[in-house]
Symmetry: D2
Subunit: 310 residues, 4 copies
C-alpha cells in the first residue's frame, strides 16, 4: 500500500524522525516501531526519515536501506514518508532516491551541496539533480544555509520553480528568513509563478509567524509533535490566537532544543524520557549531554508539565 | 562624578544601547537623552554603548566621540557606562579606550578580531590588547563567534584569566554555549582560577538557564529591559520559578528580536513604538522592515500587552 | 595638478602601496617618499593607496588623511592615484571618498561589505554606494572574496555595469576565477554591455593567463613592480611569450609572497631589503617574520638575483 | 604480498591518484591500470587512493571497495598504498579502514571532520578515531583547513603525537603554513616529542621551501609526478639548488593546477593528454573545462615542453 505523494498543496506536519540506536550502537528497530507508533498517535500528517537529525550521513548504506525498508513496512502506506537523500555525489543521490521511491516513499528531501556560491551555481546543481530524478519524483528542497553555507536566493528559487515541476515543496529554515516566505507567496499569489508547498524547519521556532505569512505547516523534529499538530490545526481552523497560545506553552523547551549541534542530543533524550525510544545515544561524532545538561532538561520538562497540567 | 568600574563581582543588567539617528541620518541627541532616561526608569544596573547594536562601526570617529561625551554627561556618574572599543587596529583601539576611560567609563567591551583560528592566535591577540590597555582598565570580553568567527575555547579563556587581571568580565554569547558557563564556574569554584563576572548576551534568549548555571546577569539589548531587570532580581532574590514565569511572557517577542541582522531594525522599532526614540532608521548598510514585518511586530507587541495586562 | 581619472579603458600597472611605519609605529613619511619615487622609477602607470595591503583599517582617520595628502602632494598629478575607500559604514565611505576626490584622486577602490549572500544583496549594497558617490566618481570594484566572503557573480556584475556608469574598473582577484574574465569580456565583445577595465590582483599570480583572456593589466602589490610593468608592456607590444618568460623568473618569489596574511610581512621586508623603506613592521594585529622566515626569504631573493643576472 | 606500512620515518613521494571514469560515468579499470603503471614509471615511493582528488565521496561504497581491491591486486605489494578513509561517521570510517588494512593497505589518510572549532574539539575527534583504529593501524593526518574549515594548531598536533603512536604522518597543506613545519620539527629535534613523517600537499606549491624546513617529501596529486620525485631525490642527495631549478621549470603549470575546485579537472585533463587515462570527466558535482580553459592548458603544456626540451 502506498500513501499519496507530496505535492504543491501538501499541508500539515511532517515530523522529522531521529534514527534510534541501541546502547551498543546498532540501529534499534524496536524503538523505531514505538517511535512511529508515537508519531501516529500525535496526529502528524507524515514522517520524514534519514535527514540530518536522522544521522543519515553516519549510517552505513546497508543500514540506511534496512532502516528505510523497516519504516516503510511498519507504516504500510498509512501515512506519507519523505526520505532524506542529500549526498555529496549525484550518482549516489539518484541511486538511493530511486530505491526510496520504489519502496513507496512520498517524496525526497534534498539539500543543495555545501558552499555553492552564486545563483548560477545553485541553479546548476539543482538542474542536474532534478533532471536526473525526473518529473515523477517530487522533491522537497531543504533550504538550510546554517549547515550548508549555501544560500538560496528568492530569485534562484523562482527560476527553479519555473523550470522544474518536480520541485514541489520548500523546507524553509534559513535564519532570519521570514520575509523570504512573503516574497515567495506574493509571487504565486500574483499568478506569476507556480505555488509550491512551504513547510518550516528550525524546530518550528517561528511557526505562528510563518503560518500567518502563508506557510502550509512544518517539517521539523521537535520532540513534542503534538504541539506542532495542534498549532497547525488551530491555525487552519481559524483560531489564530489559540494556535499561538498553545505554541507559547512549548516555546521555552522548543528554544532549548533549537541549539545548533547540541539539539540532536536533547531531542533524543526527551524522546527517551517520554518512553518512546530506549536509548538517546548519538553516533560519533555527535553531541553528548553532561549531568548538568540533564538537570537543566529535567527542570524545563517539569516546567512544561506544570504549564500544561497546572 | 564617576560610577564604580566593572569588576569580577559585577552583577545585574547592563543594557546595550542602540545609537538613535534622526530621519536625515544624524546622531539624535534628544532621543539619546530619552533613551538614557528610559533605561534609568527600568532599573538597569548600567548601560553599554557603542557596540555592534550601537552601529559603532558606522559612526565617524568624531560622532562616536560626541555620542560618548553626551552620554557620559547625561548619566553624570549615576550609573556605570561600559564602552565598546573593538577595532581592527590595536593602536586605534587603545587610543579610543583611553579617551573613554578618561571620560569616566566603567570599563570597555571588546571582541577579538574576526577569524582568529587557534587558542594561540586568540591568546596572542588578547595578550597585546590587554597589556597595552594596562592593569587599571577593566575589560569585558565579548565572546560572540556568530559575528566574529573567532571561537574562544574554555582553555584559552582560562589562560587569559590567569594572565591578565584586567580581564574582569565575560559577555557570554556563543551559540549552544550553556556548558561553557558551567566549565568556567566549576574551575573558579574549585579555586583553580580567578572568578570573573559573566553577563549573557543574545538578547537573553537563555537567561533563566544561564542564571541557574551561575551567570551574574545580562549585557544585551532586548527592547524590554524591565524584563531582564525583573528576571535577574527575582532570581537573585531566590524566586527562581517566578523569574522564569516573567521571562516566558516575553519570550515570544524576545525570540523574534533575536534574529541575526534583522534584529537591530526590530529593536529600534520597538523602542520607537514605545515612545522612547523618534526614529528607528539604521545606517547603511543595515536592515529595514517591510510593511509585512511591521504588521507582524504589531501582532507580537499586542499579544505581549494582552499577556501582561490580561 | 591632477592626473586623468581611471576609466573603462584604463590599462597598465597600478601598484598597491603599503603604508610604511617607523620602528615606533608612526607613519613614515620619508619612506613614503622613497617608495613613491621607487614606483615612478619602475614605470608603473599609477599607484593605489590605503587598501588592505596599506593597512588602512588600522590607521587613525587623521593618519589616513595625512598619508593621503602627503602622497597627493608628492605625486603632484604626475601619475593617477587610486584611493582605497572600503568602509563598514556607507556614510563614512562617502565622506572619505569625497575628500580623496577633492584632493585629486583618480578614482576609488572599494570592496563590498563582507558576507553579502545573494546577487540581490550584492546589488543592493552597490546601488546605494554607487548612487551616493554619483556619476562623476569613478570606482574600481575590488572583487576579493577570499577576504570578504562576498562572492560577486558574473550576473550581478553585469547588472551593476549596466546600471552604474561610474563602475569603470574591476579589480579581479577571485580565486579560481579565470573563466570569470572570459565571461565578462565575451559579453562586452558581443556588444551586449559596456566594457570595463579589468586589472588583476593576487600579486599577479596568473597575470600571463589573465592577459591572454583580455585583462588590461594589474593592480596589485608585488614587491618587484618592474616585473609587472615589463610583463604588461611586452604583452601589449605583442611579445606574448617574452612576457611569460619574464614572469616565470619572478614566479617563485611571487608565489612565496602570495601567502594569505603572511604575505604583507614578506612584501614589506622585500621593500626594506631593496632599500626602499626603512622598516618592515606591520601594525598589530599583523604578521611577523621569524628568523627562519627571514632565512627563507634570503634564499629566494638570492635565487632571483642569480636568475636575473646569471 | 604486502608492502611495508608507513611510519614516522617515511620519506619520498606518495602520489595522490584520481579515480578515472569512462565517458558513461563508470569507474574505468583499464585506465586505472595504466595510471598505476605510469606512477611506477615515474618512480614514486607510493600511491594514495580514494582522497578528495579521487572523488571518494562520490563513489558508491561498492565502487570504492572494487577500486580498492583492483588497485591492491594490480600493485601486488610492490609499493605501499595509502587509502583515504575520511568519513562523516566514525563507524563507517572504522569499518572501511579495517577493510583497507585487511587488503594490504600501508596506512590510512584521514582528515578531521569539518568545522571542529577548538583544540579540545579537534583532540576529542581524533582521540575517538585513533583509539578505535588501534595502535597497529598507521594514520596519515590530512591537515587541510582550506576544505575542512578545521584548523589543527601546533599545540593540538603535539598533544595527539604524544598520545597516539598510530599518528605517524602529517600531510601538511594548511595555507600560509610554512612556519608550522618548523615548529613541529624543532620540538622533535629538541627531543621533546616523537618525530612524525611530514609529507606536503597543495600540489607541492612550496615543496623546495618545505624540504628545507625539514619535511620528508610530498603526498599530492600533481599531474607530473616525475618532477616531485626528481625534486625530492635531488634534495635528499644534497643538490638543493638543482632541486629548486627542476621545480621552477614546472612551477607555472603547477600553480595553474593548484586552483581550488578547478584543479581536479585540470589534473585529469593533463593525465588524459599525456595518454595515461582515457577520459578526464569528473562526477557531478564537479568542475568542467570550457574550450577557453582547454586552450589555456594547451599553451601552458606547450611552454613546459619547450622549457624541458628547448
Amino acid at each position: 500500500m502506498s500513501a499519496e505523494k507530496i505535492n504543491e498543496q501538501t499541508r500539515g506536519v511532517y515530523i522529522i524522525s531521529p534514527t534510534p540506536f541501541t546502547e551498543t550502537g546498532e540501529v534499534d528497530f524496536a524503538s523505531t516501531d514505538s517511535l512511529i507508533d508515537f508519531y501516529f498517535e500525535t496526529g502528524v500528517t507524515g514522517i520524514t526519515i534519514l535527514g540530518v537529525l536522522g544521522e543519515a550521513q553516519k549510517l552505513a548504506p546497508t543500514e540506511a536501506r534496512a532502516f528505510l525498508e523497516h519504516v516503510m513496512k511498519r507504516v504500510d502506506g498509512r501515512k506519507p514518508i519523505v526520505v532524506g537523500a542529500s549526498n555529496p555525489g549525484t550518482d549516489n543521490l539518484v541511486r538511493f532516491a530511486r530505491q526510496a521511491m520504489d519502496l513507496g516513499a512520498a517524496g525526497l528531501m534534498i539539500s543543495p551541496q555545501p558552499f555553492l556560491k552564486t545563483d548560477d551555481q545553485v541553479f546548476g546543481y539543482w538542474a542536474e539533480v532534478l533532471t536526473r530524478l525526473g518529473p515523477d519524483v517530487p522533491v522537497c528542497y531543504q533550504d538550510y544555509p546554517q549547515t550548508t553555507n549555501t544560500v538560496s536566493s528568492v530569485g534562484v528559487l523562482h527560476r527553479l520553480i519555473d523550470a522544474f515541476p518536480n520541485f514541489v515543496m520548500l523546507k524553509h529554515e534559513e535564519g532570519s528568513g521570514l520575509p523570504k516566505i512573503t516574497k515567495l507567496r506574493e509571487r504565486s499569489d500574483r499568478g506569476e509563478g507556480r505555488r509550491v508547498s512551504i513547510l518550516v524547519g528550525n524546530g518550528g521556532l517561528y511557526l505562528p509567524q510563518e503560518l500567518r505569512r502563508g506557510v502550509d505547516g512544518a517539517m521539523t523534529g521537535f520532540a513534542y509533535p503534538e504541539m506542532l499538530v495542534g498549532v497547525v490545526e488551530k491555525f487552519h481552523a481559524g483560531d489564530v490566537e489559540g494556535a499561538e497560545d498553545l505554541f507559547d506553552i512549548y516555546l521555552p523547551i522548543l528554544r532549548h532544543e533549537q541549539q545548533m549541534g547540541f539539539g540532536l542530543a536533547i531531542r533524543k533524550e526527551v524522546l527517551k524520557r517520554r518512553g518512546i525510544i530506549a536509548c538517546s545515544d548519538t553516533r560519533h561524532p555527535g553531541p553528548k549531554l553532561t549531568a548538568r545538561d540533564h538537570q537543566e532538561l529535567t527542570e524545563l520538562m517539569a516546567r512544561l508539565q506544570r504549564k500544561l497540567h497546572g
